[in-house]
Amino acid sequence: MENLSVHEIWKQNEMLLEHTRKLNVTLLREVKLDKAKSSLKGVLFLPVSTMAFFIIAASYAMYFTVENWGTWYFMFSGAVVAFFSVMLVLSSIRQLTQILSVDYNAPVLQLQKDISKIKVSVVYNFKIAAWLLPFGPFIGLFFFKALFNFDMMELVNYNMIISFGVVTIVLEVLSLLLLRALQTKNINKKWLNWLLLGSGSQINEALGFLNQIDEFEKENGTIS
């Protein structure tokens, strides 16, 4: 089939489209911005709410640390909660910046990659949660003190200290395994999809598309 006839067929298509479509000049001149703005609002909700929540959490954790100055385990647990809250705030700010800087002027592959990466960035928040795991017992101390004004260490005995240590080691191992598993290439594992339930299909789609873009960019061989 000649190139020329494909172009002729394409021109037929163009004429048909022209015939069946009308460009609404009124629409153009009024430029309805509502639809575009509302689609952006939906995407912003998660990072904005995450940021707001963890700013409050970080502030309280710092106040908690100062208030319990002198009690080493409360100071440490407050500092841990404050540190990870700040990390989540920074992660949300990074996501927000990425979303707000989406620019449809960019070359197609670059922009579609950036949009896919925004969707996948929720995995980074899970990585932060994985780093937090080994500090689980201290987080428990923090919550009992913050919510019930109860110092769990008053109940401590030898068995509790051993359990504390064992739990910390187990959580440490789990954390390392999770961090290894939370590579984007591993994201199709069933248990990880379960973990990402709710955002899973979007992430899988985004990752699928990222892989497609990678393949698309790599194709540069000669035609056989």
Binding site: M1, N13, P107, F216
Partner: protein, 163 residues
């Protein structure tokens, strides 16, 4: 001297076929096409302030149209997983013009429909007579990659038309 708003509106009117073609290639539902075209126009108007004229205005418009359309296409693909589509026979009003459409045109449209979103973009720009350089600038891939893909698509197209 024309103001910038009038300038961009005139440009959009002049190149409206480009917008229709891209929207039509990524979205078959007529109501969604209206939304998609509106979104493309919005992004073109919004982006015109930053347009530096380093590429042709049509190349720039293709970039935006493809970016919006591919993003839209990906969103609707996810939505379709959870929606039960209306049976076509209940809602479709037969367009008499469709019966008269050339068989080759139908085949070409089907072929374009079956392509993945990125190769679709390349084919549309190629069929519109854009140079490999312009396609490379719009897509953000190398010139040699563009040539490779176009040749591959042409071979697939030849096979399709021989069937």
């Amino acid at each position: 001297m024309k103001n910038r708003n009038t300038e961009i509106i005139d440009l959009i009117e002049e190149h409206r076929r480009l917008i229709y073609k891209v929207a039509n290639s990524y979205c078959s539902d007529i109501h969604e096409q209206e939304d998609l075209i509106q979104e493309i126009i919005f992004q073109i108007i919004k982006g015109y302030e930053k347009f530096d004229h380093k590429v042709k205005v049509t190349t720039w418009m293709y970039k935006i149209a493809f970016n919006v359309s591919i993003s839209h296409y990906r969103k609707t693909k996810i939505r379709e997983k959870y929606m039960i589509p209306m049976p076509e026979k209940l809602v479709r009003i037969d367009d008499p013009e469709e019966d008269e459409t050339d068989e080759n045109l139908k085949r070409l449209r089907r072929f374009i429909e079956e392509l993945d979103p990125l190769n679709k973009a390349i084919l549309i720009m190629y069929l519109d007579g854009n140079s490999h350089l312009e396609i490379s600038a719009a897509m953000g891939i190398s010139l040699s990659n563009v040539s490779t893909k176009i040749n591959r698509i042409k071979q697939q197209l030849k096979k399709k038309f021989k069937q």
